[in-house]
């Protein structure tokens, strides 16, 4: 349990004390979950997260520190930035999963480029298939592919989200981390395929 550096009362958020209204300089190094006073687990109540975010954003807002000493003003800016970053990560289901993996990785080393066996070969084959369809401008076949990929992406996301939710607050083992990381990696390849299905031209980002 984190305590306020001024009044020593328990903190709800690592950034700010609700009891004595003081900014917490240690909050600059707080992890994304502590920013909202949450335990490090995947299932997050997005409504209450958003509410906490808005409340904290108001309390920490640099506008309210315009007349405060320079150090305190800078601290409110730093903590606001920390808050925004933590919010961006935790409100996004994929970013939240990746963040949890990063936290665990510090404890259990994982290979971050791992993919399920044969996955890369399959992705390459699918890209080649897609290339032919794009060249032939076969819109119907492309729409079918797109629907397939979308279904696969949704299944993949559902699968790792369930695994993460079931984990609750336990620290996972290496095998679990590897499984989640593999799925997060696979997600990006699938997103890439989807992107290509939707592109009507062969333009590529340099």
């Amino acid at each position: 349990m984190l305590l306020c550096s001024h009044c020593q009362k328990p903190l709800q958020s690592a950034l700010w004390c609700g009891a004595c209204q003081q900014l917490q300089s240690s909050g600059l190094q707080a992890d994304d979950f502590s920013v909202f006073g949450l335990p490090p687990r995947y299932d997050v109540d997005l409504n209450s997260l958003e509410q906490s975010y808005h409340e904290l954003a108001t309390e920490l807002h640099p506008d309210f520190f315009a007349t405060a000493p320079a150090a305190e003003r800078r601290l409110s800016e730093g903590l606001s930035a920390r808050l925004n970053q933590a919010w961006q990560t935790l409100q996004d289901p994929t970013a939240r999963a990746q963040y949890l993996i990063e936290v665990w990785k510090a404890k259990t080393p994982t290979h971050e480029r791992d993919l399920p066996t044969g996955f890369l070969q399959e992705m390459f084959a699918l890209q080649e298939e897609l290339e032919e369809l794009l060249e032939a401008k076969d819109q119907q076949a492309l729409a079918t592919k797109r629907a397939d990929f979308l279904q696969r992406l949704n299944d993949l996301r559902y699968n790792y989200q369930q695994q993460l939710i079931e984990l609750k607050e336990n620290t996972p083992d290496t095998t679990f981390c590897k499984q989640i990381q593999q799925q997060l990696n696979a997600e990006r390849y699938l997103l890439r395929l989807l992107e290509r299905c939707s592109s009507t031209s062969s333009e590529t980002d340099l």
Partner: protein, 134 residues
């Protein structure tokens, strides 16, 4: 963001696009991917007497990944396997003036060269021992 003329040149006119027969004993195939962005790259070498006589690639990815692999095929041609193994991604970064966010594309190309050579050597081992039970 401005890209170097060399990237644009390789992107518009990629060298050595295509593929060799994967099962050919003279061929080594490297297939690699970048989980950061979902790019996939296949690089193949054709080897005679420990020397790379030809190379082909096919890359599904951004222009920098295409340019990196295109350049890699140009560079490995005429090199011995050991010389090709010594190619560093930093040389590709320098040649193409890749921006920091695109450095992983050059890493991918280096990995692809190494994977192709490794695949070739593995095939040589297995084909020279027909009774091997690996």
């Amino acid at each position: 963001m401005a890209y170097s003329e060399k990237v644009i040149d390789h992107y518009n006119e990629p060298r050595n696009v295509g593929s060799f027969e994967k099962s050919d004993d003279q061929v080594g195939t490297g297939l690699v991917g970048a989980p950061e962005c979902g790019d996939v790259m296949k690089l193949q070498i054709k080897v005679e007497n420990e020397k790379i006589v030809d190379a082909k690639f096919k890359t599904f990815g951004c222009g920098s990944a295409i340019a990196s692999s295109s350049l890699a095929t140009e560079w490995v041609k005429g090199k011995t396997l050991d010389e090709a193994l010594a190619i560093q991604n930093t040389e590709i970064v320098e040649e193409l003036s890749l921006p920091p966010v695109k450095i992983h594309c050059s890493v991918l190309a280096e990995d692809a060269i190494k994977a192709a050579i490794q695949d070739y050597r593995k095939r040589q081992e297995t084909s020279s021992e027909p009774t091997a039970s690996a």
